[in-house]
Each structure stands twice: as C-alpha cells, then as structure tokens.
Amino acid sequence: MTLTILDWFVIASYFALNLAIGVYYMRRARGSTAEFFLSGRDVPWWLAGTSMVATTFAADTPLVVTGMVARNGIAGNWLWWNMAASGMLTVFVYARLWRRAGVMTDVEFAELRYAGTPAAFLRGFRALYLGIPINCIIIGWVNLAMLKILQVTLGLDATRALWALLAMLAFTAFYTTIAGLWGVLVTDLVQFVLKMGMVIALAWFAVRAVGGLDALTQQVEALDAASGAGSRLAFFPSTDSAWMPAITLFVYLGVTWWASWYPGAEPGGGGYVAQRIFSARSERHGLFATLWFNLAHYAVRPWPWILTALASLVLYPSLADKESGYVRTLMDPAVFPPALRGIMLAAFAAAYMSTIGTQLNWGASYVVNDCYRRFVRRRSTEREYVIVSQLVTIGLMLVSIYVTLHLASIEQAWKLLIVTGAGTGTVLLLRWFWWRINAWSEVSAMAVAAAVSLYLQVALKWDSDRPRDFAYIMLITVAMTTTAWLAVTWMTPPEPDETLQNFIVACGRTAADGIR
C-alpha cells in the first residue's frame, strides 16, 4: 500500500497529538503514585469508561471478529458476548464496592479483606504473576498482531516491520512513563474516537462496495446456500453446530461468566477495569464508567466490524486467510478511498497504543504498589515511588519485547497457566459478602483449579480448543474447585474480627451484608 505525503502528515499529526497530551500531563503525574496510577481519583465517568473500552479494542480485534464471522457467522461472537452478565454484575454490585474500598490495585484488596501471611502471599503472588508474565504475554500478542498488520498494510519485510513496531512501542511507553494514567486516559479518548470513526467509515464503504445492506444479506445467503454450512447471518448458534454444541453453549451462558477468571473479564471486576473504577471521581462515576464501558463494548462496537467482515466474505470469497479480509477491504481502492489510508493507519496505531499504554501502566501499578512498596521499601517518599513506577514501566516494555520475540514457545505455557483461573470465580464474587471466606479459601481455589485443569489437559489430553472438551474441563474444574475451597474454608479459622471490622468500615453497608 503506497502512502502519500498527505498520509504521512496525518500519521505524524496523530503521533504529535499523543505526545502533546503526554507532555501536558507530565508535571501532574509526577506528584504521587495516586496521580501516576489513579489520576488523583478525580476521573469523570465518561473518560474512565471510554478508556476501558479503548483498551479492549486492540489493533487485531476487528480481524479476530472477522475470523469469527467467517468461520461461524455472526453467532460466532457469542464466544465473547456471553460475558455481558459478568460485566453487569460488576456494574451494579461491585463497582461501588471497589471504589469504596479505597485500594490502589485490586490485588491490594487481599490485605484489606484478609490478615497475616496468607493475605500477604496472595497479594504479592498475584501482583508478580499478573503484573509481569501475564501482562507481558498479553503485550506480546498485541505486538505480534500489529507486526502482521504493519507487514500487510505497508508491505514491509519482517525486519523493517519489527523496527516500526518497536518504535511505536517505545513511543507509547514514553508518554505512558511521563504522564501516567492521565496520559493513558486522555490519549485513549482520542484514540477511541479515531478508531471507532474509521471502522464505521470502513464498514460504510465496504457495504457500499457490495451494493448496500440488502445486497449484502442476499449475497451472504447465496454463499451460505452454496456451502451448505448454515446461515452466517443467524444471531444465535444452532444447538447442533460443531463449533458450539449444546453442552458448550450451556457452559458459556450458564457457567463461564461467573466461574472463570480471565484477564480483562474477572468475575466481580479486576485488572485495568478495577483500576479505572478506583480512579473515578466518586462511586457514582465508577458505576457509570463501568456501565458505559459495557454498553460500548457489547452494543456499540460490534456492528461496524461485523458488516465489514460480511462484506469481505462477499468481496473476496476465495481468500484463504479470512481474518485478513478486513485489512484487504481497506487496501482495496475499489472499496476504500486511498485518500483516507493515512488516517486509517493512524486508527490502527491508535488501537495498538491504547491497549499497550494501559497494560504498561496497570502492570507497573502491581509491581510498585503490591511488591516494591509492600515488601521492599515500606516507607519512602512519593517521589521515589513515582520514579520507581516510571522505571518499572520502561522495564515492562523491555520484558515485553523479549516475550514478543519468543512468544511461539511461550504460548503453550500460557494455555496451561491461564486455566488456574477456571473455577475461582465463586470465591472472588462471594468474598465481599460472606464473612467465613478467608485467605486460604482463595489460595486453595487457585491451587485446586490449576491442579485439576492441568491434570485434565496434560494427563488426560483434553484440549480446551475443542468445544466439548472445553465444556467438560470447565464443568469438572468448577465443581472440584468449589468443593475444595468450601471444605478448606470450613476447616480453617475465619479472619480475625478486627480485619473483618476494618473491611466493613472501608466498604460500607452493602459489602457487609451477610457478614455476621
């Protein structure tokens, strides 16, 4: 794809705007870790919510959705649409509790709710595990996806694309390091408006290229009739489909959303979503931020992607790599005006940078607040903690580069590691309401979930990529994990009264319901 001087000017302007935002917030971010990681807890709902949804919209997300639609139709999106109930629980039950808790990170919550060494272990382990390996693997995936997009759109060879990617990564790390969360939030807003505007524009041009909406549906129906594989326009999967058999659909709709922990979709909220709730101006702003995020995430974003995906099926029916159909539409001069290519590439950069900025700042918050300040230097100046936060942000960027270059060999480990979250959702949801839950409840849930899942996957060779296997792994893991943590809870003493009282005072009336 050839770019003109005007295209490069647009792209340069986009980067300059992000840099200007970073420089603008530089002084404020240096004030304290509360400013660097939580924007002084003074963020309005619309900014915090937009930042959440901007983060979940990575450069490769439209391509992934295109692949889902091509393989399994619109209904293929139920792989992520099923999580809406979890999001709504977070909005209406947990968002205000998180804001009220007054913590800086969600892993810090362990030492608000529990006492002693087990609580400190939970906090430290989660901070390091999530902040460094899990976080850097996520950044690595986003990096690899952007690498492919750069190669395809700009026609760069692998080496040049890698340098371009590293430049973008370093640029994002720079403004995140100097401007902290304020820089991330405000650039997220700009980036979300830009990328959402461009995916809507691309959808409009793509639909126009196939002759309008009616022509689009007729041509997709004709393709489906020819293939005999069922309608890709159906909103719901048929119960006998190979990719989503009834048992798997039941598990997705009835179990996964509350039982399974996954980065970005934590039962009861967590991760960068919780970070933005903590940064909100008030409980009310925290609630509305999360509500806006879920509305934008599930109801606003998908249709432009889906329309472009359907149009790409019609326009390029013989394309082997269906995901690349999305990029093909924007590179096709018969579909997308070449004059808009510069701003479209800026939109892809925006999608990449919004995710990276958040991951770097959020990961650094764990390492500094829950390891360095908690276990290494308990009483130091805010100035020192901010400097360490900036150094950790840069360090995470460097580790993520190493992970990106070795991701192929790491990916299998991720697949096994991530199952440690399957079945732990119940304890995460109930710990706010049931006084009897203690730190050992959480430790045992994590340990049993990991042991059961690994046994099923490694010893019995069940493959979580196969829909039925996934359903059985989930059901067995949830049942055994729940039984185990309940048994451990009753076999171990409750938390001391003083800890429970402090928790109730911190979290107010609703969190304490159910506590004796």
């Binding site: 619109i74 649409w81 809406a84 109930a85 999001g87 709504m88 629980l89 909005v91 209406f92 039950v93 205000r96 009220r100 808790a101 007054g102 608000l112 909406l213 689009l216 549906t217 326009l233 909103f235 008030s282 409980e283 009310r284 609630l287 509500l291 879920n294 509305l295 599930y298 109801a299 998908p302 249709w303 889906i306 329309l307 309401f433 006084w435 009264d497 429970l500 009282q501 402090n502 109730i504 005072v505 911190a506 107010g508 009336r509 609703t510 304490a512 319901d513 159910g514 506590i515 004796r516």
Partner: protein, 80 residues
Amino acid sequence: VRRAVGLPPGSASLGRELFNALLGCVLIYGALFGVGEILLRSVTLGLALLAIAAGAAIMIARNLEPEIMPQSAASNLPTS
C-alpha cells in the same frame, strides 16, 4: 461485626442490585440485537428490541436514583 463498628444490620440493597444487573443484560442484548435487526433483517423487530432496551434503561435509572445521591449515608462512611 456490623454492630461493633456502629453499622445497622445488613441492608436489602443486594436484591435490587442483582435485579439491576438483570435489567442491564436486557439493555445490552436489546441494544445489540436491536441494531443488528435494523441493519440486517427486520426494522420493526429492531425498533421493538431497542424500545425494550430503552425500557430497561429507564427502570435502571429509577432503581438507581436513591443510591447515587451524593449525600447518602454510605458516602459519609470513613474509608479506612
């Protein structure tokens, strides 16, 4: 424990919050499939789904109203 820290017995707000979460699902899926119907299938059904989503939003707003008042007792609690 609640008495020890000077709080009244547990409130009944959890039920209302869970009901709001249910209404939130109606709002999200109503909006999602309402827009999808209008774009790809039936405008009438799409508008009906959007109306249901709007109804859910109104009910949520009514349920939330007493809870999001800035001077609520909960907002005045100390935050340790």
